[in-house]
Amino acid sequence: MINTMECAVDAQSLISISLRKIHNSRTQRGGIKLHKNLLVSYVLRNARQVYMNEKYAEIYRMQQYEEVMTVCNEIQELNPLDLAEDCEEQSGDCCGNDGVSEPASLCCALLPVSHLTAVQSAHIQAPSACSAPLSLQSDEVCKETEPSFYRSCCAEAYPVSNCDFSTVNNNLHCNKTTVLDLDTHVVTTVENGYLHQDCCASFQQCCQGAQSPAKKRKVDFEYYISDIEEVPDFTPCKRAKFEDCSYANSEHLDTSNISNLISIFGSGFSGLVSRQADFEQALNGQFCSKQALASLGAWTRAIVAF
């Protein structure tokens, strides 16, 4: 009998149910049913997507809060009287409503994530029941664009053990480098030298893709903070404001090129200098490539130069 109250679609339980079905199918009489397993893998994919989106939204919210607090604390150290208010305003502007609007996700990509690892290690358990319909919308867009089988990037940092996932048709592996091309919305995953590419729906997804590069940027930010002491005029708060201004005022930039800007930043200072070449590269290439982010000075020099 069907329950009167339809379950509030718990993504995590769907994942476990799906895995159980796949496991049971291996012992069923008549051999593995390809059709049924394919359908189960779709449910598994959808559920995992929702689960990870919810998780990331949670992390983002916590990160946003902590970033604001960190910045404000630092401001207080430097100039407790003048800039405390400014900081709160700017973080409000920059980071949008609840972390799922387009500029907010960009901000997410740019904001330092010094507390990200702390958050991760805190073992966030159940995902908050939020962006489920939104995530599914992005999934729907995904369906329209790319006929090839969708494989979500598997972020390393989540406490949930993705390595446990093993399906007939869907390879879910750990230890992948995931990059997101915000222009083509293609998630490129490099795994043991083998390239996978997914369609990736919208800017909401970019947070997901941005996670591994964000981890690297933590290092950048620390370097950046040390710069602050050397250059007292250039405060973190002004940095936030700068980002806003740079988007709004630069005649070279419009909303559609913001992704290119990020790509350029990600590819290092040389990207700013030779912007034309890098535009093309950014269109085809990969956001926040590992090598570029490894160069610590890229962030600060780029911003200062601008």
Binding site: C7, V9, L14, G30, G31, V43, A47, L136
Partner: protein
């Protein structure tokens, strides 16, 4: 009487017969897995999970009761497929009969194709009602006589005997499918037929068993990139060069065998854009097509997905011309239906003789008919309770919310173990065969 009036208010359906065991304890081998009328409607074949085929024959209309059509009685029973073991892959091959398709009758004998997951067999069903008697060298029981005792000669003559129906396998089409066969379809040329599994479609000549031609292959180079499988395939009823196959993604492809030997490139692609507001975890599952059937005219085709039946005009690929909701009230129950595996049930659908009404099954032993002309639909139930001879079936109604009216049944009271997956409609008359789990119900319209 060919389907005149169709469903809805014009036709009243009456119980005629029920076949199968009465007890509720259902043996798995008795679960009916396919139902098919032959081209004249005189014969009705069923296949079950135990690999058996049972054929019913309609009795001639008796003079005593001209108002009744003839009853269907058992004509022949035989074991079509046995369980097998693939030693190479360490896989057991189920004997369950997935599909039965009749060949058009050419002589006194009847021919049908039956298939399990891996092997298709051509069966000849023939009658014997005479036997030769009066042999010179043999006794009546078959023992040979001592030639020295033969003193006279006589010519053996045919004597009538009790009718005996023999089923013999004439062809075995094996080893052509790596994946599970889901469909077979006889071509209108009566010489060839197709068989489809999850990833490939093969073309056979009915006379040749050691060779088949692969005409569709959707297996990707890297199986990790698999996104869809073939779920059903059928030849066009009139054009021997045309066939369609449906996919788990909800698309139907029409192929023309004249275009090329390998029909991977479709001639037409029928697909309806997904409604984004209906998006859920299970969108892919419920959009998977479980059955595709051409209309008798060949102008339309019908597809069945989990929640609806769609009629497509072959001339329009962008969307179906008609969509009928079978049990939309299940949309909010998909999570539970996923847990208990009901969401994977493969419902079939069928046309009536003049393509004016379509029928498909549902849960709680309900089945639905949609009259295309009158835009009416009706829900009926196949149950022992309404099994008095010639009793008129009462339309059923599922209460989807709010206050439940009298005689309505609420969604939560539906028995999801009682499902009607297989139905068949007589090619000329208003006689339908509806298979519950292990019973076959025959209904006809009230004359």
């Amino acid at each position: 009487m060919a389907g005149a009036g169709g469903g809805g208010n014009d036709v009243q359906w009456c119980f005629s017969q029920v076949k199968g065991a009465i007890d509720d304890d259902v043996a798995e081998a008795d679960i009916i897995s396919t139902v098919e009328f032959n081209h004249s409607g005189e014969l009705l074949a069923t296949g079950d999970k135990g690999g058996r085929v049972v054929i019913f024959q309609q009795e001639l209309e008796s003079k005593n009761q001209p108002q009744c059509r003839g009853e269907y009685n058992v004509y022949s029973t035989f074991q079509s497929h046995e369980p097998e073991f693939d030693y190479l892959k360490s896989l057991e091959i189920e004997e369950k009969i997935n599909k039965i398709r009749w060949l058009p009758q050419k002589n006194a004998a009847q021919f049908l194709l039956s298939t399990n997951d891996k092997t298709i067999k051509l069966w000849k069903i023939s009658e014997r009602d005479k036997r030769p008697e009066g042999y010179n060298l043999k006794e009546e029981d078959g023992r040979y006589r001592d030639p020295t005792t033969v003193t006279t000669l006589r010519v053996p003559v045919f004597q009538p005997m009790d009718l005996m129906v023999e089923a013999s396998p004439r062809r075995v089409f094996a080893n052509a499918h790596t994946y599970h066969i889901n469909s077979i379809s006889v071509n209108s040329d009566c010489e060839t037929y197709l068989s489809a599994d999850d990833l490939r479609i093969n073309l056979w000549n009915l006379e040749i068993t050691d060779r088949s031609f692969n005409i569709v292959d959707i297996k990707p180079v890297n199986m990790e990139e698999l996104t869809e499988v073939i779920t059903a395939a059928e030849f066009h009823p009139n054009q021997c060069n045309t066939f369609v196959y449906s996919s788990s993604k909800g698309t139907i492809r029409l192929c023309d065998m004249r275009a090329s030997a390998l029909c991977d490139q479709h001639s037409k692609l029928f697909e309806e854009p997904e409604d984004p507001s209906n998006r859920s975890f299970f969108s892919e599952i419920i959009s998977s097509i479980s059955d595709v059937k051409f209309s008798h005219s060949g102008r339309y085709m019908m597809t069945r997905d989990y929640l609806s039946v769609k009629i497509w005009d072959l001339n329009m690929e962008s969307r179906p011309v008609e969509t009928y909701q079978v049990h939309e009230y299940l949309r909010s129950k998909l999570c539970s239906l996923y847990e208990n595996d009901c969401i994977f049930d493969k419902f079939e659908c069928c046309w009536n003789g003049n393509d004016s009404v379509v029928m498909t099954g549902s849960y709680n032993n309900f089945f639905r008919m949609f009259d295309r002309g009158y835009r009416q639909d009706v829900t009926l139930e196949a149950s022992r309770e309404s099994s008095k001879p010639r009793s008129v079936l009462k339309p059923r109604k599922v209460c989807t919310g709010g206050k439940r009216k009298k005689d309505e049944i609420s969604v939560d009271s539906l028995d999801f173990n009682k499902k009607i997956l297989h139905t068949a409609w007589h090619p000329q008359d208003n006689i339908i065969a509806v298979a519950t789990t292990n019973n076959l119900y025959i209904f006809q319209d009230k004359l």
